[in-house]
């Protein structure tokens, strides 16, 4: 009796999952509730000076971001011109939406995080999930009001990538903690510090999203391939909010769903999801701009200081 149900796990069991997930939502809420209360009280107790300080900081960041956006506009226009000259295909616009990560522990031996949006919000299995720093993973198990996102570092996850510097394409596997490229040809050009972006193959992840940075190189035991370990840009154990991507759609009202905190972030986030793409194209066409972090919106101050000279 039980075996049958466990066997037909794929599409047939989805209705059962949907119905039961409704029953499960209260449990998640109960776990989240004390944490929400804690956050609310923290907000209420935080001194006004702190808030002012934070506000100023955010304003500065916003200014910084807007400056970059302005510079972007011209780059985008230029890029588009070049593309039409080459009669290349246009980048398809992306629709994004913000979801929050539920702080729920997972005893499953896979690296999953639970996010607070599900099938009811239009998610689908295999949807790309990012945060401000880079790609996190994709939607793995879908329930009605929440979804499990499998992280890129999970051992069962693989993602088609491209090395930003050379444009070489390969597949990145998770190895539990980091990302592992195990199929680089021995003649392939790869160095420590290379940035990996998604290559857009397989039509799951849009092209040009930042993923990881190569950390160390090695040779496979049978000496047929070079291998490389890469550290993801996103801090995968400190996720709070993530962005979901609907490829091939114009920006829809998805961002309206985002709540209080993200009203500040949303204009920024829309841009980040678009900009890495632009970066790739720019860097391919005009080889002097190779660092996608120039476009990253919420960089730390040090980073943005490093990057700005390139523009001026």
């Amino acid at each position: 009796m039980v075996l049958m149900i466990s066997d037909k796990n794929n599409q047939i069991a989805q209705p059962i999952r949907n119905v039961l997930s409704l029953a499960v939502v209260p449990l998640i809420k109960i776990i989240e509730w004390p944490q929400d209360i804690y956050q609310i009280t923290q907000l209420a107790m935080s001194r006004q000076a702190n808030l002012v300080q934070e506000n100023n900081l955010l304003k500065e960041q916003l200014l910084d971001a807007e400056l970059k956006v302005q510079q972007n506009v011209s780059l985008v226009a230029e890029n588009q011109r070049l593309r039409t000259m080459l009669s290349a295909t246009q980048n398809s616009p992306l629709a994004t939406s913000v979801a929050f990560v539920s702080n729920i522990s997972q005893t499953q031996n896979q690296q999953h995080v639970v996010i607070d949006q599900g099938r009811a919000d239009g998610l689908f299995v295999g949807q790309a999930v990012l945060n401000l720093a880079g790609v996190i993973g994709q939607v793995d198990v879908l329930s009605n009001n929440f979804a499990h996102v499998i992280l890129i570092t999970d051992t069962t996850h693989a993602i088609p990538i491209e090395i930003l510097r050379t444009g070489m394409r390969t597949i990145a596997y998770g190895n539990g903690e980091k990302i592992w490229l195990k199929e680089i040809p021995t003649s392939g050009d790869i160095r420590v510090g290379d940035v990996l972006v998604t290559s857009g193959f397989g039509n799951r992840f849009p092209r040009g999203l930042k993923l990881a940075e190569v950390e160390s190189l090695a040779v496979s035991p049978d000496r047929t391939f070079k291998t490389a370990l890469a550290t993801p840009f996103a801090e995968l154990d400190l996720l709070t909010e993530v962005f979901l991507i609907w490829p091939n759609q114009t920006k829809k009202s998805a961002t309206k769903r985002s709540e209080k905190v993200t009203t500040i972030d949303t204009p920024v986030t829309k841009d980040t999801s678009l900009n890495p793409e632009e970066t790739v194209n720019i860097s391919e066409e005009a080889g002097h701009l190779t660092n996608p972090e120039t476009q990253e919106k919420q960089d730390t101050d040090t980073e943005s200081n490093e990057q700005t000279p390139q523009y001026q």
């Binding site: 776990i31 997972q106 499953q108």
Partner: protein, 162 residues
């Protein structure tokens, strides 16, 4: 009589729900490694003392809920918990008479069986390689079992007397 029956039913559900909440609670990673499989512990207890086949269905239902929460293959926890409940139920009457240590050993065996079933399903579904860390919860569970048993016994007797 029926009221008492209802009460013990309520207790079963409440305790298992509480166990699920304990499982979901975001413990720090070091503690999470030692986290016993709470639901399995409680199912074992209730199938030992409620001693009817109804517990098996309860086990299955909560197993499915756990599956949904953990995003695992639908029926994975369900199956392991039903198997556990069945094993306990089969010999519940005998086991209630056994000594403390013998019972503890049996509990460890059941939970080990539970872990093996889940590891097998994981292995079949996505080639999961079992690790020795998977066995740590077994020992914490063995440590917790006497206290859990004592606590639930006390609750039950106090309910019976009131």
């Amino acid at each position: 009589m029926s009221k008492q029956h209802n009460q013990s039913n309520l207790l079963i559900h409440l305790s298992i729900l509480f166990a699920i909440l304990l499982t979901l609670f975001p413990w720090p990673e070091k503690i999470a490694l030692f986290q016993p499989h709470w639901v399995a512990l409680l199912i074992a207890y209730w199938s030992l003392y409620a001693a009817n086949t109804k517990v098996m269905f309860v086990a299955f239902a909560y197993g499915l809920i756990l599956d949904i929460l953990m995003g695992s293959l639908l029926g994975k926890h369900g199956m392991s918990l039903v198997a556990l409940s069945f094993l306990v139920n089969k010999s519940a009457k005998k086991l209630r008479m056994t000594s403390f240590w013998q019972l503890l050993m049996m509990v460890m065996v059941w939970l080990f069986n539970d872990i093996v079933i889940r590891a097998t399903i994981d292995w079949i579904s996505y080639r999961y390689q079992p690790q020795w860390q998977d066995l740590i919860p077994l020992f914490t569970a063995a440590f917790i079992w006497p206290w859990l048993k004592y606590l639930l016994d006390r609750i039950q007797t106090s309910m019976r007397n009131s």
